[in-house]
Amino acid sequence: MQSSLLFQLIINGLIVGTLYGVIAMCFVLIYKSTQVVNFAQGEFLLIGAWTCWWLVVQAQWPFWIAFPATFLFMLIFGILLQMIVLRPLIGEPIISVIMVTVGLSIFFQSMMKWIFGPWPQPFPDIFPMKSVNIGGLQVQTPYLMSMAVSLVIMVSFAWFFRYSRMGLAMRATAFDQQVAQSLGISVKRVFATAWAISAMVSALAGVVVGMVNGVSSALSFFGLKVFPAVIVGGLDSIVGAIVGGLIVGLIENLAEYFDGQWLHLGNLYTVAPFYVLVIILMIKPYGLFGTRKIERV
């Protein structure tokens, strides 16, 4: 009985881990191309989830239209956010920019509470079955869907950065902004693209988590989990973000298992990832996949 619980938790951990990985990837995308640590990443989830919820529940749109519409909204939101708030800050000290993202985080969280109220709102059931039985394990349908979509997103990220013109331009900008400009790349446009993609993909995670747990400001705490994930993976590594996300997801659920079985401290799973963060920072400050610069001797 106990081992089946452990299995269930490991599966949960992997599924939530891929979601963390996707959010962490979005975070890394912004950090890598614009050097901004975005503390408002969690709020992207929140805004995305509320938007989708509003479209489905209030505007009565069918989910399969509301979902892409949310994406489109977040795309425009990301571009506008970069253009209006962050573009004027280019060239300012990095700490000012980071403080602005902290401000944005508080602002959006309060605004969402103001518009939609402080209570969690459930999504109507989108899928006919709430959960699916796979080999004796219960997996919630939205999570299963998210797993599939996350994998698609990861593959398309990999493709985007390796083969697409804009992806190469983003990597070049991350490496050296002056060189990028000398190649005719508009750094402003790269920045806007980074924020847009990040906002869009985070919203996906927001919608999925919202469908399972209901939409509430707790979602932005979900976004906070990206910090252990990206620190474990290394701040500027996309692969690291995914691995970090999986590790954090697993640690969380294993912590819950140990806690429930032996320790009985309660709520260990929410703090465990942050313990890992501290330990990783002590032994590997650049994370598992952080950049090692090529040194030619």
Binding site: A172, D176, S182, I294, R296
Partner: protein
Amino acid sequence: MGEPASQNATAESILSVNNIEVVYDDVILVLRGVSLEVPAGKVVTLLGPNGAGKSTTLKAISGLLATENGAVTRGSITFLGENIANRPPEDIVRRGIFQVMEGRRIIEDMTITENLRLGAFTRKDGERAIRRDIDMVFSYFPRLQERTGLSGYLSGGEQQMLAIGRAIMARPKMILLDEPSMGLSPLLVKEVFTIIEQLCQDLAITILLVEQNARMALKVASYGYVMESGKIVLDGTRDDLVNNEDVKEFYLGGDKERKSFKNLKSYKRRKRWL
């Protein structure tokens, strides 16, 4: 000196820099009235000691000055009849001027092909044309084709070739080359310069070349300018410069009678330019 650019001013000049003044951080005056003309299809070189303002002149043309908080505060830069001073760099690349920056500056964590593709960023003539040009670059630099892996592991000479190849990928009308010989062995310098000369001929690319290695530069250039502390102090055709006593002494060296180190210590510039 009077009008430094007058001798080279012709109707066919593709780029003309007219008496520009460049200021960094709103206070530091770096260029004080620089004028030069580059005729289409030719190699023109800009010589001078460290800190004379050669690189700044190139950055003023390519617009990269803005990335270092500098600006052209007076004068104009005319490329194909239009003033491009203080335009954003991406606009200038689209107009056909591509700068190969000092120190090669390739994207080290990308492969050679990815670097070349980035060079073609502003082009809109499709994947097939880009692929054809990648092959063309490899035909100029066969040793790049043999190398695999990240370009950060290339040797200095190979990186310089990649930087030039990346510039070709943009299919520019004009390339601004900043010290291509820096840190290369004499043999590689020769190779790189041969290719520069070829490029100019085969693809009809105009080149403005900044060099410390005046001897090599004057081999490929048809016209040269000499800069010192933010001003053009001398200009002339290749033959004028090569035979100029001051240029010989300050830039080309290799006098007939060898100077002993004893004399070198007290060696002072005999004559001021102005």
